[in-house]
Symmetry: C2
Subunit: 511 residues, 2 copies
C-alpha cells in the first residue's frame, strides 16, 4: 500500500523486509486489550448493552437453555416424541392452569410453544402450536411464503408452517427461529412480579388497581423514579419501526405489535415474535386478493406501535386503556422530550389521512446516530472478547492431539509405540511443557510457559529447545518445527488406523 | 416470570421444578449454532461485514500486527527507546524517501506515526509525532481537553498530547488509540496500487492522467463497473456525519476529513483519525476566544465531507479537482440515487446561508435503518462466534491442570507421586479420555468424547464411569465429582509447594 499524506497503517510483508528492523514474533499470543475497549465508558443517551463478564454469563445461560431436555422418564403424556420433522420437544411455557388463560388473548385460540430440534438440519427451532385449528384453504400460504423470505434483525424469522395430528387434534404449527433466554416486553417491564418488587406499586404512575396517582412527587426532576430511561424507549421505537417499515414495504402487515409479542434479548435488542399467524388464522378465502386488507391492518400496526410505546413510557400496561390515555400522554409530556410526545400523538390520535411508518423518521431524528454509535461500540466490545478467545480453541485442539499420542499404552501390538521415535520426543516435550521444576526441584507452574510452548509448537518455529531424558543421561536439541512434524506424523498414524473416528461420532473432528 | 398472552420464554429454576420433567444436562457443551445465524443471508442494500472465517483471520492478523516489534539488533539510530511514558516504538509508516513527501500535505510539517506501549497502563497506542514544532502557548490545551473527553465510535480517540526532545528535536506528540491493520480510505480505494490492478485505469471514470473518459460504456446498467456500491458510500456518509455531528455539537471542528485521515477497519467501519492536531498547529494565541473560528471551520468540514464522498462516488481522487467537479457530479447523477446527488450538491455548492450537518439527515433517511439492521446482524454473527469459543478457554485450562499432574516424574522426593492415590485415578482417567480403542483394538479418536469428558469433569457431575487399570486386572468405579476432587487436591498440592509460580511470571494464573 502506498503511503499518502502520512497515514498509511498497512504493510505488506515486503514493506517489512525492505525497511528492515521490524519483526513479528514467530508465534501467536494474545496481545492484550486495545485502548478503545479498555477505556470505554457507557453513555447515558444510548441503549446499554452487556459488558464482557455479563455477556459471557448470558451466553452460557443461553447455551444451557438450548440444551434443556425432557426427562425421558417423566415425559408428559400429551407431549409427542416427534412432530413432523421435529423431535425432542420441550415446552417453552408453563402449562396454563386457569380455564381463562387457555385461550391466547391475542389469537383467540389456545396456543403452546415448544423448543424442538429439526431432523432435517439439526438446528433448534421454536414451534408455536395453535390448538384445534383446521386450515380451510391453502391460499394463505402465499402470504406465509412472503414472511419466510423476510430477514430482518428485529423480526423473529418464520421458517415453516404445517398442520399436524401429532398432538391428537388438528393443530397448526408455526416454526420460528429459537432465541434462548428471550423475554418479552410484558414480562420484563409489566409483569406482576416486576410490579410486586416496586414499593406499593408506586414506582409507576398507576396504582395496581388502575387509579391514576397524583404527580406531585418527582415533578421537575426530569424523569420520575420508576420510569424507563428515554434512551431505552427510543431504542425500542427505532427497532420496532425498522421492522414495521420492512413488513409494510413487503405489502404485509405485522398485526402482533404487543408487549407480549415483542421479544427482548440482551439489554435492548428487540424482535417481533409470532408474525404470520394472523395471516392464517383470520384468512378470508372469499377475498379475491389476499393483500386487500393489508392497508387497513398497516394503519392498525401504527396504533399498536403507539400503544406499546405509551405503555413503556408511562411504565404501565394499564395506561393504554382508553379512559387513562389522556393521563398517560400527560405523563409522557411531563417526563420526556417533545419528540416522544409528538410521536405518540401522531400514532395514537385519529387521523383522517393515511399515516405511514416512514413519517416517524424525522421524530427519531438524530437518535438514529446514537443507536448506531451504541451498536458499533457493542461490536467493538464483542470483537475484543473474541480476540481473547480465538486462540483457546486452537490451543485446546493441540493439547488434545498431544494427549492422544502421549503415554498411549499400546498401538498396533507395539507396546513401546509411545516410548520410541517421534513419540519419545513428544513425551520429553510434554515433560518440558508441564513438569518444569525450579532450582530447588519445586514444581514451576506457569500458564504463560505452557501457552507459549503450545503456540510455538503450533507455528513450528525454528527455535530450538533442550529436552532432557528422565534419567538426565541424555539431552536432545530439537526445534519446534521438528516437534510439530512429530505431532503431525504420529497423529496421522493414529487417525489412519482409526477409520471409524469422527465418521462415527460426527462430532468435532480434530483439525 | 408470569405467562401473559402465551409468549413467556423465561423460566426460573422453580418453574422447572414445579412443572417437572425438564432437565438441564449437568455439564456444558456447545449446543450448536442458532438458526438465525445458520440461515443468515447477506443483503445487497447493507454495508457488508466479515463473516466468521474472515473475521478470525482478521483478528489474528491484527493480533500479530499488535505484537510487531523492532529487532533489537537493527534498531534505527533515530528511534528512541523511550518517549515520555511510552516504549517499544515501532514506526507505522515506511520512511519517506523523496524530499517532496517529507512534509505532510495535510499539516505542512513532517510527521511520523509509531505504535508504542504505555508504561502507565501497558496498552498499545499510536503516537503521531509532528517534527520540529515548538509550542508557543499552552492555551490550546483547552481544546485538547475537549477532544480527550469525546468518545465516539467513528473517531480515533485522542488520549494525550505532549512535547518531547526524545527525537533530538522539538517534537509534539499526539497519542491516539491504536487500531491494528487499519487502512485509510486513500490506500484502500485510491492508491496507485489499487488503480494499477484495474485494466488500464479504465475501471474508474478518469484516466490516470486526469482526463475524463467517455461514458458510453456501462450506461443504463445502474452502476458502472468499477464504481463502489451505493450501500458502501452511504455507510461512510452515515458514520462520518455521525462523527461530525458530535464534534460540532461539542463546539469544535474536525478539520481532517480527507481520504488519508479516514481509517477503515473491517469492511466498512470508519474512524476519523488525527483529530485535534490542527487545533494545536494553527492555534492563534492572539484570539481572545479559542473557539472563535470554529463556525467557519465547521462549514469547511461540510465541504471536506462533500469532497470525500464525491471522490468515493466517482471512485477517483482526481474527480474532486475544481475543473473536474461538474463531470464528477454528472457521474454521480447518472449512477446513483437522487439522494446522493442532492447530498453532494448541498455539501459542495456555495450557499450564502450557514449549512449544518443536521440538514443531511433527511437525505440519509431510511438508510439509517439498513445501517442499524446490518450492525445488529453483525452483532449476531459475532455473538455466535463467541458462543463457539467461550468454552474453549475453560477446557484448555482444565487440560493444563491435568497435564501438570499426570506423569509428573517426581514430586517431593516421591518418585511414585503421580502413580499413586488421587494421581493414579487421574492417570487412568487420562487413558479413558484419550486412549480409547474400539472392539478390534484400533484407536478410537473422537474430539466429542474428549470434550464431553472434560466438561463433565469440570462440572463434577455425579455420573460414574469405569476406569480400567492398564493390566486390565482391576476396574475402579468413580464419579466425575470424585475425579474433580482428585484434580483439585493434586493441583493445589503442586501449587502450594511452588510459591514462585504465577507470581514470578505474572502471566495467566491457572484458574
Amino acid at each position: 500500500k502506498e503511503n499518502v499524506g502520512g497515514t498509511t497503517y498497512f504493510y505488506s510483508q515486503e514493506d517489512f523486509n525492505s525497511h528492515g528492523g521490524m519483526v513479528f514474533p514467530n508465534f501467536t499470543v494474545y496481545p492484550g486489550m486495545l485502548p478503545h475497549i479498555a477505556h470505554m465508558k457507557p453513555k447515558s443517551n444510548q441503549p446499554s448493552f452487556f459488558m464482557p463478564d455479563e455477556m459471557k454469563m448470558e451466553l452460557l445461560n443461553r447455551q444451557s437453555l438450548s440444551l434443556l431436555q425432557m426427562d425421558a422418564e417423566h415425559l408428559p403424556p400429551d407431549l409427542p416424541r416427534e412432530v413432523d420433522d421435529f423431535h425432542n420437544l420441550v415446552p417453552l411455557e408453563p402449562p396454563t392452569m386457569s380455564p381463562l388463560q387457555q385461550k391466547s388473548s391475542t389469537f383467540g385460540y389456545q396456543t403452546s410453544a415448544y423448543k424442538a430440534i429439526s431432523t432435517k438440519d439439526g438446528f433448534v427451532y421454536c414451534l408455536r402450536r395453535i390448538h384445534g385449528f383446521r386450515l380451510s384453504s391453502t391460499k394463505c400460504m402465499a402470504l406465509i411464503d412472503l414472511w419466510k423470505k423476510m430477514q430482518h434483525a428485529n423480526i423473529v424469522q418464520l421458517r415453516q408452517v404445517f398442520t399436524t395430528k401429532a398432538f391428537n387434534d388438528h393443530s397448526m404449527v408455526f416454526v420460528y427461529d429459537y432465541h434462548p433466554a428471550a423475554e418479552n416486553v410484558m414480562s420484563r417491564h409489566f409483569s406482576s412480579n416486576q410490579q410486586a418488587h416496586n414499593v406499593n406499586g408506586y414506582n409507576n404512575p398507576y396504582n395496581l388497581d388502575g387509579q391514576a396517582r397524583p404527580f406531585s412527587a418527582g415533578k421537575g426532576r426530569g424523569t420520575q423514579q420508576g420510569l424507563l430511561p428515554e434512551s431505552l424507549i427510543w431504542a425500542y421505537v427505532v427497532q420496532l419501526s425498522s421492522a414495521l417499515r420492512t413488513i409494510h414495504a413487503h405489502g404485509l402487515a405485522c398485526r402482533v405489535i404487543d408487549p407480549t409479542k415483542v421479544l427482548l434479548t440482551d439489554k435492548s435488542r428487540v424482535r417481533i415474535n409470532c408474525v404470520g399467524i394472523f395471516d392464517v388464522l383470520s384468512f378470508d378465502a372469499s377475498q379475491a386478493n389476499p393483500l386487500a386488507m393489508m392497508p387497513h391492518y398497516q394503519q392498525e400496526d401504527l396504533v399498536s406501535l403507539g400503544k406499546t410505546i405509551l405503555a413503556l413510557a408511562c411504565n404501565s400496561i394499564i395506561g393504554i386503556q382508553k379512559e387513562h390515555m389522556q393521563t398517560s400522554l400527560d405523563v409522557v409530556a411531563r417526563n420526556y422530550s417533545p419528540d416522544l410526545k409528538n410521536l405518540l400523538f401522531y400514532l395514537l390520535t385519529n387521523h383522517s389521512r393515511n399515516r405511514s411508518v416512514n413519517d416517524i423518521m424525522p421524530m427519531i431524528g438524530a437518535r438514529f446516530y446514537s443507536q448506531l454509535d451504541a451498536a458499533q461500540l457493542k461490536n467493538d466490545v464483542m470483537e475484543a472478547e473474541l480476540n481473547k478467545e480465538v486462540e483457546n480453541g486452537r490451543l485446546y485442539r493441540m493439547m488434545c492431539k498431544l494427549g492422544t499420542i502421549n503415554e498411549r499404552p499400546e498401538y498396533n501390538l507395539d507396546e513401546t509405540w509411545s516410548e520410541t521415535g517421534d513419540r519419545y520426543m513428544l513425551k520429553l516435550f510434554r515433560d518440558y511443557i508441564f513438569h518444569q521444576v525450579d532450582d530447588r526441584g519445586s514444581p514451576y507452574i506457569d500458564m504463560g510457559h505452557v501457552t507459549q510452548c503450545l503456540n510455538k509448537l503450533d507455528a513450528g518455529v525454528p527455535e530450538k529447545i533442550c529436552l532432557m531424558s528422565r534419567d538426565e543421561q541424555s539431552v536432545i536439541l530439537v526445534s519446534y518445527a521438528e516437534l510439530k512434524h512429530c505431532v503431525e506424523s504420529s497423529f496421522s498414524e493414529l487417525l489412519q488406523s482409526s477409520p471409524a473416528s469422527g465418521a462415527v461420532s460426527g462430532l468435532h473432528p480434530f483439525s
